[in-house]
Amino acid sequence: MRFERYGIGIAKGMALTLKHLFRRPITTQYPEERLVTSRRIRGNELVWDKEKCTGCATCAKSCPQGTIQIVTSVSAEENKYVVEKFEVDTGYCIFCGLCVEACPYEALFMGYAYERAKYRRGELILSKEGLLESDERKPSGYARPKIEVTLPRQTLLLDRDKVRK
């Protein structure tokens, strides 16, 4: 336990800290400025497309937690399932995206927004009308390449660095 470098180590560290004094801080003043999130963000909600859904329940089978509940009945005239109940408990969901990947008809999307906190736990359980797409509930591009190309690019912290030769 000796001082081996005669105080030069401390001086080098302090020079580096001084250099940082003149760099632009990397803080983003939320909520006035928000960064653009990734196009494939697995945001805090699920978005359901009622027209394309056939009630096959592949999503419910692939969910590891079992949060999706589907009840269908048979409609003999149109020769398809009628989806009577499609309920997602967003409080129990872990937003892994396995259901979105599994859907063969591209009827389920992950949400794009991430500020979806609610005041009551009961409001987290969403069913048929609450899951539809709207202006506040946009779908994200996770496992949906057609939607991914329409979304804006992500802001990267790397863009601020300059590459020195």
Binding site: M1, R2, F3, G13, H20, R23, P25, I26, T27
Partner: protein
């Protein structure tokens, strides 16, 4: 039976010499300067709190507080209001009077220190002819306040922490005083006003080793990183102020920054030339130098890790004390033997000796113990 006659009385102003252009009597001078000192201390402490938080934020590539008021200037005010509104908790089994008195005993000496610091030529509360001795004596009293805080809390970890702090502060006083003596030898007087008037060349050049020893000792006195074992959050205790809340905690917090302000003021006066400077009014130069020293203090805080407690004590006794003694010896030799030598010779000789000493000490001294066999 003789009545003890001190030779001065209230009507003659206790033998104080006022500056020749001062309008009123002694008590007006006293009153004005008490107000100036109190306002200065409180305003500058608030300014220091703000500066430190913004400054450390910028060192760490982030912004500091910037929401309260324009550029976050009212942040210390918000802190003060928050602290005032908190509940004042007193431990049930602790010693109530000691617990109540401790912040007062810790805070009052720090404010009293400013009585002898010259803001301008002759502009100080009391131009004592034993100025530096007064400073050293008064600053030892706040150590007692810290120990009272640890004792009155009825918490064995607070007591341990307080004892550690007392050991630290007492050990670092000795190199501090010895390095001040070097300055006194060159200046030839103990009065702070005279020390500033003599500094045509700032003493930091004439006494580099003294400055270094005083700076490190002062950082240890005020419990700042790298010596802030008490505020460390990797310790299992929160130090002597665990059991304090509300206004008493605010007083301890103020004590920390007021001591930093006091140390900066003393360093400016002793080593950097006080209020001397070319163009601007002297009071402004004083402020600039004080803020500069404080910048150095919190720049060190944001960079360097903490030392361990046995390394701390070893550093004081094995490193700083011998260096301070050798500095005193060399200064004494220079003052006696070379009183008419050119200042530049002395500067170079001192710098060379400092470099050699630091190199020697770094190579040969071992700090702190190792592993203990159990």
């Amino acid at each position: 039976m003789t009545v003890f006659d001190p030779g001065f009385s209230p009507s003659s102003g206790y033998g104080q010499t006022l500056p020749p252009d001062w309008p009123g009597g002694f008590w007006l001078h006293w009153g004005v300067f008490v107000v100036i000192i109190l306002v200065f201390v409180l305003a500058m402490v608030m300014g220091f709190i703000y500066l430190e938080r913004r400054g450390i934020g910028r060192f760490q590539v982030r912004l500091g507080p910037n929401r309260v008021g324009p550029f976050g200037v009212l942040q210390p005010v918000a802190d003060a209001i928050k602290v005032l509104l908190k509940e004042d908790i007193i431990p049930a089994k602790g010693d109530k009077w000691v617990h109540w008195l401790a912040p007062v005993v810790a805070f009052v000496p720090v404010v009293m220190l400013f009585a002898v610091v010259p803001f301008q030529d002759g502009a100080l509360l009391a131009d004592l002819n034993i100025g530096i001795l007064y400073v050293v004596a008064i600053s030892s009293i706040s150590v007692v306040g810290i120990f009272m805080a640890g004792w009155g809390s009825n918490n064995k970890f607070s007591l341990l922490g307080a004892m550690r702090t007392v050991a630290q502060e007492v050990s670092y006083e000795i190199p501090l005083v010895l390095s001040i003596l070097g300055v006194v030898l060159i200046a030839g007087s103990l009065s702070l006003n005279d020390i500033v008037k003599v500094q045509s060349i700032p003493f930091i050049l004439l006494q580099p080793l003294g400055f270094l020893v005083y700076f490190i000792g002062a950082c240890a006195e005020i419990n700042r990183t790298p010596f802030d074992l008490l505020e460390a959050d990797s310790e299992i205790v929160a130090g002597f102020h665990t059991e304090y809340s509300g206004m008493k905690f605010a007083l301890f917090y103020l004590v920390e920054y007021a001591e930093a302000l006091a140390i900066s003021a003393i360093i400016t006066t002793l080593f950097l030339g006080g209020w001397r400077g070319p163009v601007l009014p002297p009071f402004l130069w004083f402020l600039i130098k004080v803020v500069g020293v404080f910048f150095l203090i919190f720049w060190i805080r944001s960079t360097i890790p903490r030392v361990r407690v046995d390394q701390l004590m070893a550093f004081a006794w094995k490193c700083l004390l011998p260096l301070a003694l050798i500095n005193l010896l060399i200064t004494g030799v220079e003052v006696l033997v070379l009183p008419e030598a050119l200042p530049w010779t002395i500067i170079f000789v001192n710098l060379a000796i400092m470099a050699v000493l630091i190199a020697l000490w770094s190579k040969f001294f071992q700090l702190g113990g190792g592993r203990v066999e159990v």
